[in-house]
């Protein structure tokens, strides 16, 4: 009986979970940008905020594992859905005009998603893995002034800055469709709110990645 099937055994509910994890990451990105923005205006404010996020037990041992799971779930479920979708059309059309009925962003979420995944690898290599080593292997938790210096050091390399900028272009393209699509997946669609959500989605998809790009370029030029 269909009613006894597990939650994630329904294609629609897999998409529902995908949408929720995506919206969670959207909120996280906003928080990340807010803290990063302080680095442009005050190194002390950036250091104290980063130190709080890096040492607060609630953030470290509750929110960070939830975030890690959210990222892992969103990526792995995205790949699972992509495989299922490809299997649904084993023979492609010889001649097709998908641009007549849908946007490039909506059709290529897997490409932009994989590019973001590769960027996350670089980002973890740059910041998260050294952070884990410092705290959990070297046992250094009290250095409150290192965060701003580490940030500046990473954005010294023009190639790294270019990679960051390119990655945020992919993030923007991903968000352009993903943000508003998540609301459709959870069934939130009506004549009053949907136009607003679509506008908000476009604004968010441009402003947030652009903010990260500006911060990276600012620190590169400031050195």
């Amino acid at each position: 009986m269909a009613i006894n099937k597990g939650f994630l055994n329904f294609s629609i509910l897999r998409k529902f979970a995908m949408a929720l994890s995506g919206l969670f990451l959207v909120i996280f990105l906003l928080q990340h940008l807010t803290i990063n923005l302080t680095s442009v205006f005050s190194s002390d404010a950036f250091n104290s905020l980063s130190h709080f996020m890096g040492t607060n037990p609630l953030v470290q041992f509750l929110l960070q594992p939830i975030l890690a799971f959210g990222v892992f779930f969103h990526l792995s479920m995205g790949l699972v859905l992509e495989i299922k979708n490809r299997n649904a059309r084993p023979i492609k059309y010889a001649y097709s005009k998908p641009e007549e009925n849908s946007s490039w962003m909506s059709r290529n979420m897997i490409i932009t998603g994989v590019m973001i995944m590769l960027f996350l690898g670089l980002h973890f290599y740059d910041f998260w893995f050294p952070e884990l080593k410092l705290k959990f292997i070297d046992g250094i938790w009290n250095n409150e002034t290192r965060y701003f210096i580490e940030l500046q050091h990473k954005f010294h390399d023009p190639i790294r800055v270019a990679l960051y900028v390119l990655s945020f272009v992919f993030l923007s393209l991903h968000l352009m469709h993903g943000f508003q699509s998540a609301f459709q997946s959870i069934g939130f669609r009506n004549k009053s709110y949907t136009p607003f959500i679509k506008k908000l989605s476009s604004i968010y998809a441009i402003v947030v990645p652009f903010g990260f790009v500006c911060i990276a370029i600012y620190h590169f030029l400031a050195q």
């Binding site: 099937k5 329904f10 299997n87 849908s102 979420m109 959870i186 069934g187 669609r189």
Partner: protein
């Protein structure tokens, strides 16, 4: 007008097919696309060749039989029409037209441009109905008051002819627009309330079993649907399923 046609030919389900090229001449711009195909088939029969197999029935946009992927779009370049309602005036003299069958693992090709769409039938059989006692004592449906908006939305959903253009247009071969229209037309009406939860669970379960892909919300299905079925129905089905499951 004179046209070059590149058409998918496949002898049978298990055969490997290929695109074949044909020339047709003196095609009137007032012909429907299927009439142009009839002209080509007459030409092939006169030449002693196998005519092209394609689905068609009412030829007035109601039955949902005709199913051709024309120049990269289901039902061709026009909007809000089926292949039988597509007219040759949409093309120019000298054009090359590509014609393929719907492509989906759940719609296997039977021959040439004919695909097996019985997956849709099995989805309907799984729950797309209202169980009514037909002993003669049934209440007249028109005697039950229904809000105008619900009646309109249910009617709009019910205009789905099950042609499969949504599946053909979707990059994932998703059947969400079709299934959501069938779920919606009953979920919106009082007669559909009794089996509401079981219906959406069973129909989505059958849709998944048939191997259709997931919905990526590209909106291609809505744009290519000859009956203009709205994405609102997909959002409604998502709500219906979540509500039924929890």
């Amino acid at each position: 007008m004179n046209l070059t046609l590149k058409i998918w030919r496949q002898k049978e389900a298990k055969a490997s097919g290929s695109m074949e090229t044909y020339k047709v001449s003196e095609i009137s711009e007032h012909m429907s696309f299927l009439e142009m195909m009839d002209v080509l088939n007459e030409q092939l029969i006169n030449e002693g060749k196998e005519p092209i197999a394609f689905d068609h029935d009412c030829r007035e946009g109601i039955c949902g039989s005709c199913s051709m992927y024309i120049n990269g779009e289901p039902h061709g370049p026009d909007r809000g029409v089926t292949t039988c309602q597509l007219h040759m005036r949409k093309f120019k003299d000298g054009d090359t037209i590509h014609i393929e069958p719907w492509r989906a693992a759940s719609f296997p090709v039977i021959k040439d441009l004919v695909v097996d769409r019985s997956a849709f039938d099995r989805i309907i059989q799984s729950g797309g109905y209202v169980s009514v006692n037909t002993s003669g004592n049934s209440q007249d449906a028109n005697a039950i008051p229904i809000p105008k908006e619900d009646a309109d939305n249910a009617f709009d959903a019910a205009t789905c002819i099950g042609c499969g253009a949504c599946v053909a247009a979707c990059k994932n071969s998703s059947a969400m627009l079709f299934v959501s229209a069938k779920v919606s037309q009953l979920a919106l009406l009082p007669q559909g309330q009794v089996e509401r939860k079981e219906r959406v669970l069973s129909m989505v379960d059958q849709m998944d079993t048939e191997g259709f892909g997931n919905c990526s919300n590209t909106g291609a299905c809505e744009i290519e649907c000859p009956k203009g079925i709205s994405l609102d129905n997909i959002a409604r089905m998502n709500r219906e399923l979540l509500s039924a499951k929890i």
